[in-house]
Amino acid sequence: MATKRLLPLTRFTQPLRRPYHSYTHPAPPGPFNEIERSILSSAAKHIPSHGFTSTSLALGCSDAGYIAASTNLFPKAAFSLVEWHLLAQREALKGEVDAIAGDGAKPMGVGAKVKELTWRRLMGNEEVIHRWQEALALLASHPSTSIHELALLSDEIWFLSGDVSVDTSWYTKRASLSTIYAATELFMTTDKSVGFQETREFMERRFEDGRSIGSTLGSVGQWVGFTAHAGLNVLRSKGVRI
């Protein structure tokens, strides 16, 4: 009964579906097996010209050396291609974080890393940006996957950036990054500027806004969390003997 009512809440905190990240035990198998991975990665090369469609998927099958009927490995058809793109781009961020670390002379702070990784993830859409609205349409009809994937992405970015906070800010950080990312990704589909300059500026502004919103949200969380505690301390500092 009570567990049932709690379920909707946990749906929005999805990284819990793949919990306990072990360093000595290998990770559990991902959503795609070996064959599916090889087909999907071949199919991804056709997205710029054929879009997130079953055509790309079928071309991927033959490129990877399977008969065209192998597309029935993917009951979700074109949507599997969207899932693959999201997964592959998210997994690629691990490599990006090393590139970032090697870039600068001085070590980057967590905030700067978050921004840089977010930008690099957005640039992961560069090749397919003229087809991205197709993907967004498919994602809109799979809302739980969209939310889950967005949550995984922001969790990944905060983790790779070295953030270790495990208090209420864990939630506000992920919520605000998800919002910034989703908004910027949408903006990018209409951006015709060179090198996505306008998208970059848009993203910078969102992070600026996010900073003030973040601190407001953070202080709401802290207000709820520490009012009693702080209240006691204020009274004590005023000489009230409690």
């Binding site: 567990t3 709690l6 919990p19 072990s22 360093y23 983790f159 864990w170």
Partner: protein
Amino acid sequence: MKLSIGSRSTRASLQTPLYDFLAPSLIITPRTRKHFSTTPRTLSATTHNESSKPPLSQPHRTPKAGPEAATNTAPPSKPLTQAQRDFLTSALRVNQAGELAATLIYTAQTPPIVASHPHLRPLMAHMYEQEAGHFKTFNGLLAKHRIRPTAMYPLWSVAATALGWGTAIMGREAAMACTEAVETEIGGHYNGQVRVLLDMIDSMESKGQEVGEDLRELVDSIRKIRDEELEHLDHAVENDAQKAVPHELLTGVIRAGCRGAIWVSERV
């Protein structure tokens, strides 16, 4: 502190496997213990094996988090099952919530208690320091293993502060009864976790699977923390927790509250 093969076999010969989880971490990792009893204890002299440093802020293992934690990977073993990962996730989440509450209880209790009983200052400080160490350990483990903290974080903060302050103004006995009640629940809770973890390790070993070092370290950490909680329980009883009026009602209510909070934190 490293545990040697020798001490492990000592433990095995001392305990039947059934009660292995009860083995105090003292046997595995000898550590110093300080008694803060306000009444003179003849026994305490024998257990005082303090060296140069006071054991107040014993450094807890603080695991690295973020990408750098991934560098020391051991030879591969089998993936943990979904059930095992679920257990570890909710166990670590609830432990962090509990230690958050513990630090806040002592923070809120200390000023009123120390104001009327100055001799309790070192004891309160000692217990607080240990709780802060526990909290730090679980914070590190949550970040390292990428576990979401409980969504009830703000609520537990308020509840723990209220509980600490409320029992402290009721007097020394009530404050100690609060510690007694909390630590009784927590000690049992940690024992349960150690038992499940040892079962998990046993079944992996019997199937010939490699057991990750993080699991073994976790058992040791929880054992050590469990011992410190039971030490707090002893201190509370020594300081007249059971003279609190009405003792049964007070500890009963607090213990029920702890169980409820544990139940919720394991889930949300």
